[in-house]
Symmetry: C2
Subunit: 209 residues, 2 copies
Amino acid sequence: MTGLRARQKADKNRRMLEAATRLFREVGYDAARIEDIAERAEVSVGTFYNYYENKGDMLVATVAMEVEEVLEAGEPIVANPPADALEALSALINQYYDHSLVYLSKDMWRTAMAISIQQPDTPFSRRYTELDRALCRQVSTLIQRLQQRGAVMMGIDTAAVGAMFFNNLNMMFTEFVRDEAMSLERLKDDVARQNRPLATLISAPQQQA
Amino acid sequence: MTGLRARQKADKNRRMLEAATRLFREVGYDAARIEDIAERAEVSVGTFYNYYENKGDMLVATVAMEVEEVLEAGEPIVANPPADALEALSALINQYYDHSLVYLSKDMWRTAMAISIQQPDTPFSRRYTELDRALCRQVSTLIQRLQQRGAVMMGIDTAAVGAMFFNNLNMMFTEFVRDEAMSLERLKDDVARQNRPLATLISAPQQQA
DNA sequence: CTTGAAAAATGAACTCATTCAGTCTTTTTG
DNA sequence: CAAAAAGACTGAATGAGTTCATTTTTCAAG
């Protein structure tokens, strides 16, 4: 009972997403023209705009797919984290960072971030924001899990601490994509260093074996 | 001995900056057309582009002026902070936040942030980044000052902790300007809550009077 | 199987930001 | 002071994103 119309619509959307993702990666965001995307997807320019509010929306849509993967990849770590708080955090965060450049270039990230700030009210920007929230919750959940396991002191506000770790890692990632020359290793090291004080302070005094 | 040319140049620049700032505030960034800015400043469109690389540069220039003021306003607080760490931090941060909307609208902030992310290599974006660094240093300096005064434990990495507080306040400010409905009070409260754990943990055990 | 209405698709036209080849002004040189 | 060189200014032309009136396709009712 999926009408012809619905099927065609889904197919066109898929074609456009694929065409855009490829073009963005091949020639960069700016150089990818709507006309080209439309042509590759075998639709008209107007149709593109029936599906996406503007060019940026399309990019944010591709980024959202990526973030969803990152989120999923983090779950096993949260479910079964290393015993040490700083190690657990680093494992999760480095996982995020390693995943981030698999499908997207720094250029694409920059543009997507810029759009999500400048036009926060388009549907895809909302989705992006929602995914950020989910990542933040994932970090908080990790802290909570560590607390339950006795690796983090009781009485710590896990949501507050999680938000702080997340905002830090997010801001540092922004700095990373802003600087074309900065390496992933440098990013990880810097963040680990920044995390150490808080991670250490919230750690429960370890019991001797 | 300021040649005629140099004087005219400075005057034109001043006129353009003023025209742009006004227009941005009156009609918003997007609706302010280069043609209109040029007209108000009594220059041609081409001249505008002799002074600024693009429209965004002009906005970032106005924002930079604002941030410089914020930085200056923070100095007295760093020089003579409240005794309690969380209070001192809140004083500085709330000062930042209160100042932020005096000259600039949320819309202008959004656009400026977006530009500084997307085109990090224009001269004005560099200036913006530099100012962010200066703010981060100011927060670190505050922590250091508190440490010298015995309000913060010795052995704490003040640069790391300062960076973490700063990245958090900056990210939260981003969230704030993204959400047209969010109030300054809400922002301050949220950030204060997030800061509490770390601020408390780094505080030196207070001596009884 | 018609037919009318609703949904989608279309692409030419429009809006701006940005460019650049030509012109004008200021400064320097002789 | 004249003339040439350097520095600024100009605005019409360019090009890419976006809009929208029109056309085409799909769907459901009779």
